[in-house]
Symmetry: C2
Subunit: 356 residues, 2 copies
């Protein structure tokens, strides 16, 4: 992966930005992100899958291999999971120098209600061998990356696969998965960054060795230098985003607000632990005010709402920020923590507004 220290976004980055879309920040007003506004990253092409011939194959180091149809899977006991999902590369385009890949700003996130079969139930049925260490999830989307032709595939440690509350989802917000979100079946691992949630799932394979596929061993590693192995990217760091208040300018997206107090609101999440507090700053992070939290969605894996009545001390230009802290004490830094792949940038968002 290369880097660019020039300010101009390259044609390749634009091509990715045109395909892979973020969530417009005003959509933070909706507890469940409307379909089509949830962020989307497709590594290769969205495959056209015929649900009649599609199969899920469960194999590898298991006592009972399985081959199931979509209709059969829908007969299994199902669960509903409300989860916030964020791309591991969210914030990449704000790093300097800028890692060259999908150029996300701050809003590669969304929250959905997923319905499907608990992964743990599927594993119980297949009975992993005592020497199984990982579960590999293989997808139908194909392409080249780092010069290697591949199907998208990622793994989880077996313990994580069993205990994380992961779901093999066939519904999103009460309807069959849209093609771009993994129809007919995808993995959803609550709390983990997006790359874990393998779409267009076709095989679940128990292995006795850690998976060394491209998306596990080469990509999605947190590194300071290209030549170090780094650590794997896993759970979402705490993050919060404000709904930009007032009116936008079409081209610059700069905001103008009027009146006082101004109702500020936003959403916050963390993959490590529940959000404990959110603070808001109107001076770029020099001082902070405590926001009120509302937990308006089911379960521990969805973002929380925060709000604050802001009384601007004057008119003119302000930089608004918000900062989430989770129950482990993990919080958001003021500045991005650079790494080669441009992952896990949970630096506080900055929203420029002019108070009239």
């Amino acid at each position: 992966m290369g880097v660019s220290s020039e300010s101009g976004i390259t044609h390749e980055e634009l091509r990715l930005a045109a395909r892979n879309h973020a969530m417009p920040l005003e959509a933070l007003r909706w507890p469940i992100t409307p379909v089509g506004l949830h962020y989307l990253l497709v590594h290769y092409d969205v495959p056209l899958v015929d649900p009649a011939t599609w199969r899920l194959e469960v194999g590898g180091t298991v006592a009972q291999p399985l081959l199931t149809t979509l209709d059969e899977l829908r007969e299994w006991p199902s669960v509903e999971l409300t989860a916030t999902m964020e791309c591991a590369g969210n914030g990449r385009a704000l790093f300097e120098p800028r890692p060259l890949s999908q150029p996300w700003l701050t809003e590669a996130v969304g929250t959905a209600i997923w319905r499907g079969v608990p992964l743990a139930a599927l594993l119980d049925e297949a009975r992993p061998g005592s020497d199984a260490v990982e579960v590999v999830f293989s997808a139908l989307d194909r392409g080249l990356e780092g010069g290697i032709e591949q199907r998208y595939a990622r793994s989880l440690p077996l313990a994580e696969a069993r205990e994380s509350g992961a779901v093999l989802a066939y519904e999103m917000n009460g309807a069959p998965l849209p093609p771009q979100h993994g129809f007919p079946l995808r993995l959803v691992v609550p709390g983990w960054y997006g790359m874990t949630n393998v779409k267009w799932l076709t095989a679940v394979t128990l292995t006795t060795e850690p998976f060394a596929g491209y998306q596990q061993a080469m990509s999605y590693r947190y590194r300071q230098h290209e030549d170090e192995p780094g650590r794997p990217v896993t759970r979402m760091r705490p993050r919060s985003l404000l709904v930009p208040p007032g009116l936008p300018d079409f081209f610059t997206r700069e905001r103008v607000v009027e009146g006082s107090p101004i109702a500020l609101e936003g959403r916050a999440w963390s993959g490590g632990a529940p959000v404990a507090r959110v603070e808001v700053s109107d001076d770029g992070g020099a001082s902070w005010l405590e926001a009120r939290l509302t937990r308006d969605l089911e379960g521990p894996w969805a973002w929380v709402r925060f709000e604050l009545e802001w009384e601007p001390p004057r008119t003119g230009a302000f930089v608004l920020c918000s900062r989430a802290t989770d129950e482990t004490g993990a919080t958001q830094p003021l500045e991005p923590e650079w790494n080669v792949g441009g992952y896990e940038n949970n630096a506080v968002q900055r929203v420029s507004v002019t108070v009239r």
Copy 2:
């Protein structure tokens, strides 16, 4: 509107590209674009509309002003309209120098089935005065553009409003409009570029003078120089797009294909007249082969499918193009026809592939 002759996309353009998404080209395989893959341009913010308090106001130069609720509108006789919609700025980022606005490449398009009330029926009910010349459609989304605070609004000549087959749509693909596509009501004028299809509609106003609002008089005009009035942008020029064949590289989106023949397919449309023919070239437009057309959707306003079995004459690099011609003889140029706002770029798409 400024221009950039530098190759780097600016931060402002990236911010727009992150919000406003195109349709991944492989989605051309679906006759009706899955919700969330249909292109989307939001001028300001997606408004959060309460359907219980929302009203449509029909007024101005009419004998019978109307004020209707969503439930009341749903009691009117409804029609279904299958329509392909393309942004007037599609292809803007391929102009040199590049007009600075939403930086679309080639794929700001989509096809949907809209259901709603014929605009002509609403006008019949309101009975426009004999001196009415235009119908102004006003929306709920607010922002600043060209330094002017505004709600989004566009007009149609009264004759066009009556005879174009326009629909006031409250359903998209069998479900209520998603927020980002105009919930609870939008205008759909088949054959016209996207800016005409006003979302979050709140007022329909008959006027005795041509509308001089920003989006009509300043924006969406086809001009060679900033200081000329130009002509209004209206109906979609003919255009065709190929599904890029083979496998993509993640970052460059360059394609690799194997075997022969290679099944090429795509979609073509025109707002002026039905598509009469589509040709495909494997040498960047020097020579052309006739594609087979299939009309697999209802009515005259949806794109047609085209296909061709391509036998590459050798291995190596090719540039594939397609070219649509409609029944008026209008066709696609090989090179973009530059204009200040970056509109109506229907130059042939170029898809680089390597045959192995």
